[in-house]
Symmetry: C2
Subunit: 354 residues, 2 copies
């Protein structure tokens, strides 16, 4: 090892779900939306003033912050926009988890939380979910340096009631509590109504799932102006211009088309509920998902075996070799046709097993 390597920050990175080059693959492994972005986005791309690309974008990402504020009935100063919710969450960790006490999050949750904690050398402690994959509010009533909770949680898909979230926020006035609502638009209950009552609460959302714009990299968080102000100072200390001009333009258009957004999420929810029944009939069990994925275990066949079989059939789902969840598959809700294929393949497979 060369001497200069002694001065290098060494980390074990997050591993994202595979992005296959083969377009025939039925891709149910990264919780993307199976439907395209709002039609206005395509129109905008066709009309985009390319000369404007030579200029830096708005450093405050103001057009999009304004549109989101209007949509959620907030002041623009209560909204922070970033390069996907990962960028927003990473900035939040860097900004708000700067104390000495360990931050808290569930043992089974978004697997980026411990990666950010390791990267920024933030002490942390995981709180085990109960045997039904639920958060126990009592676990979060101890001395800590901050809290981050995904609600609905990933990869379980479960949504905690707002009362439980409020109980945790209320019990922790001395630290910042982040509620990561990447999946809230598929039937979850948002903590957004609480931000005007609790100044230590931040709610994070994304365009990657319900707004079908994972490829545009847009996420945002909402909270009181003081929190957002601190976050902006850190963001302006990392990169003056994070979100590019097309993303700002397209994001505004996506928020404006509320009818399309509601129709798309309703369609995904309907498919999910139908698929739940079919998976149950095939012998799967799962927590009652309020997201665009189902976290399923089979009563008799190990998850890894099903994962491999599906992969051979060019159907990608997500599987982790991790304690507690190694017998579960996270299956994204795709189009009805994609889910029909999945169910048919599973039916065949289990029929042959008998």
């Amino acid at each position: 090892m060369a001497n200069w390597e002694n001065n290098v920050r060494k980390v074990v990175p997050y591993v994202a779900g595979e992005q296959p080059k083969n377009k025939k693959v039925i891709k149910l492994n990264t919780n993307e939306c199976p439907y395209p972005p709002a039609p206005g986005v395509e129109r905008l791309a066709r009309e985009m003033d390319m000369d404007a690309m030579r200029l830096y974008p708005d450093t405050d990402i103001r057009p999009l912050a304004d549109e989101l504020a209007k949509y959620y009935r907030l002041r623009p100063e209560q909204v922070f926009v970033g390069v996907g919710s990962d960028d927003v969450l990473s900035m939040c960790f860097l900004t708000f988890f700067y104390g000495k006490d360990p931050i808290l999050f569930p043992d089974v949750t978004y697997s980026f939380y411990d990666v950010w904690a390791e990267l920024y050398r933030i002490p942390y402690r995981v709180c085990p979910l109960d045997e039904n994959w639920h958060i126990r509010a009592e676990d979060y009533k101890c001395k800590n340096g901050g809290i981050v909770i995904a609600n609905p949680n990933a990869p379980t898909g479960l949504c905690e009631p707002l009362e439980k979230i409020e109980e945790i926020v209320k019990a922790n006035p001395d630290v910042v509590v982040i509620v990561d609502e990447a999946y809230v638009d598929f039937g979850g209950e948002s903590a957004l109504p609480l931000i005007n009552r609790y100044e230590n609460l931040l709610v994070v959302q994304t365009f990657s799932k319900s707004r079908a714009m994972a490829g545009m990299r847009l996420g945002y968080c909402m909270g009181n102006e003081k929190l957002i102000g601190y976050l902006k100072d850190v963001k302006e200390s990392v990169n003056s211009y994070t979100v590019n001009t097309p993303a700002i333009l397209f994001g505004v258009e996506a928020v404006k088309d509320d009818a399309y957004f509601k129709a798309t999420t309703a369609k995904i929810i309907a498919t999910r509920e139908r698929v739940k029944k079919e998976l149950k009939d095939l012998g799967f069990t799962f927590p009652d998902s309020k997201t665009n994925f189902i976290f399923a275990s089979h009563k008799t066949v190990p998850a890894e075996e099903i994962f491999r079989m599906l992969r051979e059939k060019e159907i990608y789902v997500r599987h982790w070799n991790k304690p507690r969840i190694d017998n579960c598959l996270r299956i994204t809700v795709g189009t009805d046709e994609e889910m029909d294929t999945l169910i048919a393949v599973l039916k065949d497979y289990f029929a042959q097993k008998k």
Copy 2:
């Protein structure tokens, strides 16, 4: 102050040049390119498959890394792409400046360096430029935790000879040396040929200036595979997908059109050389810029006075109230027409002064 604020990282952010909403303004304050991006970029925007926006982009930004590698005759593993060179530099600071000794950079240089150092709590020491705004190689031959040098330097516009850069890199095998070449395409000498000889050298470049894509947020750095590997690990620990799909597509197209790139930079260089003569005739002095800006002081009139006068005439240039440079203006090289207007306004102004 609420208790939760005790756990917050507080920083003084970088302040970017103003982005006026008024489109009539002649904008010579942020070193943007006065010409549009390569024509192929517009064609791509018109043809872009919007359905693809629902999918996450390539996490390795591989299509663009491949294209850059081909262009610079490197292996793709020697290239790292980010959201503008600010994102790349910020990741480099976080990754490579993790030692105990102070990092070194000039006193007059890109004013983001000390902001990143403060943000990541990296000890640093500035080395004063000599009286002609040049770097002194000897200043960088002491115990340190890393070095970052902008070459050509901003806001001076001066380019140091490659021998001086090599002397510094060679003297510091135990730390990473970053050469920030945001402006190198306007006549500077790149340190790129050195990366295969010095494994501690990283060269950073951007699409924001010479490739007219500030609005797309694209930057990159090049170095040996080990350096790039460490950087990717940190990037994958911050955000799996940083560069969005349009930026990857447009970036590839911009790199492919080398004829347009060469014509654009040649045009800007020609305008710059012509404007240098005219500014000299008006009583300005300046270091011999190899960039797309001129760092000018007037022999008799204070910079701030000229700055205010130009602002009233809707011509924006950059001025800092900082020691050593408070009598200088950084004037971006715009189109010939924009520079004609600037010169005419200055002529009028100095004529009235007499």
